[in-house]
Symmetry: C2
Subunit: 410 residues, 2 copies
């Protein structure tokens, strides 16, 4: 039974987390949000106030913190009395925020794997490089740490576990498919920080197949998927955090992640990449100025947070899990469909931030209730997931299943 939440970060996902915490502050208690720039935190609290999102009267305070500094984060945890920390800051701060939680006993959550700012596209085993090295430390301290509890990773890990628990006897393959069939109306834009977005696709594509890591190039392996609501969509195999943790739990299964890309996105990406404009390595102009091309590309692209008001259409993210049931081949597709405009109307963010930001708040509620306050470090598929998915349904992210018996709520 824990109370009082500290949100680390003040980007698009943090905005969703803030609104959803406010909508559940009767259970969650005092709310705090902290980032390097306090004005961004204040703007998020203003938007919460503007929507009258607080369920009951309560505290919501903004703080400035350098989240790379464990002692600063620990001091803030003590000062605020937060027992639950939702880390949706940059991927570089996971380890420092986790240290602060271990030091203070607060529960820890994040939505993406840790990255070292000096290394680009590290090779698997990803969680093994940082997070999982601290499992024993969490266990001895009795600290609850739930890794990767956004949508993907997060809810898609829960879908795999639900397939194991309720739909299949054996699992042969897990294909996670992430389709954004929405439109932002711009000639070109990325849905989150262009630097992070492009970095994700400039390295090797890793998948787990035939019991081993397999490598491909980006856009080398693509196929069409026939999906509920969004219809036929082309998606390409790419590396993603959850391929690692799921392959650890289901080593016998092929685990692949597929992301949808339109031809237009691929064309722009290919031109920029082949010209060298996505490079992290500085170049020198004829005038002698040293510049990182990717940072210039970021500077000319639309600010992702500016896209939300005009965003229309839907996302569909789910797991196609194949295996056997009662000795016969069987498959199940577990999925959610979210609407960009609905998300904007509710919390002022587009659908991609919404799907990432609601799950850690559902997890926080489960920790507050005691259901998920397990006192050690886990990935989502290691937890009982039905309650989590049902709570998500109540909070705006309903899950459905499509299999031989039809398409229905889970």
């Amino acid at each position: 039974m824990k109370r009082n939440v500290l949100i680390i970060g003040a980007g698009g996902v943090a905005q969703v987390v803030a609104h959803k915490c406010a909508q559940n502050n009767d259970i969650l208690g005092d709310l705090h949000i902290a980032s390097r720039t306090i004005s961004k935190c204040e703007a998020i609290i203003d938007s919460v106030r503007a929507k009258n999102a607080m369920k009951v009267p309560g505290l919501f305070e903004a703080h400035a913190v350098d989240a790379m500094e464990p002692s600063a984060v620990a001091a803030l945890i003590r000062q605020t009395g937060a027992q639950i920390v939702i880390n949706v800051g940059s991927a570089f701060v996971n380890m420092s925020v986790l240290s602060a939680c271990i030091e203070t006993g607060a529960a820890y959550m994040d939505t993406a794997i840790h990255e070292d700012p000096t290394k680009i596209c590290e090779a698997p085993p990803w969680y093994g490089n940082y997070e999982w090295k601290r499992r024993e430390e969490c266990r001895s301290a009795g600290v609850t740490a739930i890794l990767g509890v956004g949508f993907d990773p997060g809810v898609v890990n829960a879908y795999a576990r639900l397939a194991e628990d309720e739909f299949l006897d054996t699992i042969d393959s897990i294909d996670i498919v992430d389709i954004n069939a929405g439109s932002h109306g711009r000639w070109f834009a990325t849905n989150f920080d262009p630097e992070i977005n492009f970095r994700e696709f400039t390295g090797t594509v890793w998948s787990w197949q035939q019991g081993a890591w397999q490598s491909n190039k980006m856009f080398e392996v693509g196929r069409e998927w026939d999906l509920p609501v969004v219809g036929t969509q082309k998606a390409y195999m790419t590396g993603h955090d959850e391929v690692h943790s799921l392959s650890a739990r289901y080593p016998q299964a092929d685990v692949r992640f597929w992301m949808g890309f339109g031809d237009h996105y691929i064309n722009v990406f290919t031109v920029l990449k082949n010209l060298g404009l996505l490079s992290e390595q500085p170049v020198t102009t004829a005038e002698g100025l040293e510049v990182v091309p990717l940072k210039v590309v970021k500077a000319v692209l639309p600010d992702p947070s500016s896209l939300a008001p005009d965003y229309t259409g839907k996302t569909c993210i789910g797991d196609l899990v194949k295996g056997t049931k009662n000795g016969k081949p069987a498959e199940v597709f577990l999925y959610n469909v979210a609407d960009h405009k609905d998300a904007y109307n509710e919390v002022g963010s587009q659908g991609i931030s919404y799907t990432a930001g609601v799950p850690p708040v559902a997890a926080a509620i489960l920790i507050a209730r005691g259901d998920w306050d397990i006192g050690h470090m886990v990935n989502v598929e290691e937890l009982p997931v039905r309650g989590f998915l049902e709570l998500l349904g109540e909070m705006g992210l309903p899950s459905r299943v499509r299999d031989a018996e039809g398409d229905r709520p889970i």
Copy 2:
């Protein structure tokens, strides 16, 4: 009768000019080359020596000069005793070099229109903005100034005049077509300075039709051309210097310029332009660095001078001139085909630099002989052109004609 040549500039075209002057130094006398960076001039002279290009023993000297400074150029003209100046420097130095020629009495030539570095894509009348304002000054000083005597503008202006002199009684249209059917083997590269190359296509497309300036967007008007040697090629209407001077001499005719672009070039150009990466206006990165995107694009693209050794294939540049002959409709296509590899073997440059660099040397020879030492300012179509075109044929740029009577040398 003039002697001794001063070349201004040390880029790819200057390299061709230097080699061709050397091959004709019995007529041209002492040779000098000057640019801001003397080492570039020395490298060009080294390549001339390496090819044993000097026809007779003679002087070839390198100099450093700030060509934006008329007095510095005038001092160099006096110091070297040059009576002929071939300006193949940047488009920003035309007026300062012309001033130095007027001051010293030296003959002046260039291969492209003057540009003000602070203005991008000026509207017509282009020659009227700078060069033609100084016609009277040249006439009173008795200075020979031949504007735009490269290939296009230059030889294509001569083709229009040859059509007038020898093939047609009236001229209804002049379509200049510039096709580079060569291949540099890179994923993408521009054939000359990317900054200049892209600037040429980011503004309005101007043409002279129905007795007036007409405007279009880039890549708005395209058509296929069936051309000798290079075959069927798609080219797009674009603005170009010679549309202005030819429309002044042939105001009743439609005058259009067409440049060949492959789909790949257009795609890369479109992506870069729509993202804002071809902008001359600085942007500020998230880290606070102020950068001109176009200069970063230039920094990541291959250096155009590095393309020459691998360049293969041919260029075809010519004029389709339509009108009447003996009261009946008639048309003639006057053209040259050049080969990239032949150009590289002879002078160490690719074919595009070659076609631009040979004509001003032919003009210099005609000035040295007295044929074109006319003592005032002209564009090429105002001169007698048969001798010029025949000399170009002897120097490596043969002209041919294709009309109802077949395809043959002019």
